[in-house]
Amino acid sequence: MSTPIPTTTPSSVAGGSGGSGGRGRRRQGARRSSALSLGLARAGLELRQFSRERTSMVFTFAFPIVMLVIFGSVFPDEIAPGVSFRQYFAAGMIATGVMLSSFQQLAIGIAVERDDGTLKRLRGTPMPPLAYFLGKIGQVLVSSLIQAAIMLGAGRAFFGLHLPSSPDLWLRFTWVFALGTTAGTVLGIAFSAVPRSGKSASAIVSPVMIILQFVSGVYFVFSTLPTWMQDIGSLFPLKWLAQGMRSVFLPDTFAANEVSGSWQLPLTAAVLVGWVVVGLVLCLRTFRWQRSDAG
């Protein structure tokens, strides 16, 4: 404690805008800001905070690249005519990056905010709940776009990744990316209810992500996984997200190497939309502003 509160305190508190003094001093007709503008303000705040948590930010962005380097060096072989494992893996890591910056970031971040009282404090203000979620969505959108840009750049420079060559493929990339990010966002918000404390959040969420990556055919070619593992992987969005990314970044001929022999784009869209709906329902039913031990 070093800073004494100035003795001018009362008058400076009593001042302020409006300045009519007294209990009836609330400005007539003053309106609360809209959820949208507050959502934008919150997104700015969240991003500022995120950008200052250097280690966390670097790790989030660097993790997929590091994995690319490791796996790309270990398995340099061709897995199909004209397709190297590096390319296959790069597409999968782009999908993983989407889930990291949406699902993992939110599941951990919100669990921590619930534990440390951020959410409780916000609940005590007139901030519309929607503004909080818009802020999170904004944060996810910006960070996952940065993530994707880094991955595309690194993939192209070092791993033989071909950027989409036609507007059609860019469009496909856009909707796969958007649906994957949306699903990851709502599921991340929903999953944040699972960890019982902020400290345990990353210990619970990270293994979930790693297991998902294995059963979704990110680290190994999906068609080479045991059938039971394929079946489990097919239940979750990452498998479809990764397959969708392969359809964008690998030659069309590789579709024949997929389990179904095609890219299954309509089914991919349906599964991801399904997860968005499931995630939304879970969010609405399970979201809590306080720790579960607070009656």
Binding site: M1, G15, E53, K120, P126
Partner: protein
Amino acid sequence: MTTTVPTTGGLDGADHHDPTAEPAVRITGLVKRYGTRNAVDGIDLEIRRGEVFALLGPNGAGKTTTVEILEGYRSRDGGQVSVLGVDPATAGLDWRARIGIVLQSSTENAELTVAELVHHFAKYYPDPRDPDEVITAAGLDEKRNARTRSLSGGQRRRLDVALGIVGRPELLFLDEPTTGFDPQARRAFWDLVRGLRSDGTTILLTTHYLDEAQQLADRVAVINNGRILAVDTPDRLGGRSAHQVRVRWSEDGADQERVTQTPTRLVTELAARFGGEVPDLHVMRPTLEDVYLSMIEAEPALGEEQS
């Protein structure tokens, strides 16, 4: 104890205790159960507009539960509650814009600066105070651009208060606001609270520091085992102004002590007996703490603590 909090603040002070005004808080028959135990067991309370009201009680007495029901954080199992004329259980965001909440210690938003947070929170409210003036009032001028991670415990607490008052609340909840403060910081904080009070803000304070309640509160309530034991001004609580004054002096090489209801008469007699100065004379009225402890100790503790 010499300082009495003035009953009128600024120019608008006259209407602080307008008896016809709707009270800031009205509680009747409030009950909150945890399992089979009544953490709050039938509380009736009224907090007037413009007063500083202190809620005293040991941990587990039901203080936090009661306050969190008033803040809209917890549901209740029985009774009626009106805060600024609205039931907190169903209150919306417009009601939240009229209250300010300073929770117990928090650690969040470590990477944001004081100024960023106060300016940001101001945006939530329809008619906020000037964030820079609030930072100054909270004594955080020098820490304006410091990240909250770097703040000391006391500075962190003052930031909590700044965030609680930036919305220009009609009713401010202060939950153990000065825990961990050094004496100088506490005095400065008390000045801040008095400033808010003279600005017309109703304040509900919970504290473990009896001197804090004595200094700040217009009225105090003592709560234990989920019930209100007494409500009065700090000076009159438990009838302490009238009773049990302890007079101590030195005579024949030994300390003498007597408890009396007529200390003036006793001191006059002593002065006559000693023919002037009475050696080592002390006249002690029971402090708020004495009264509080005797009230709590007279009650058997029930059940366990509920934070």
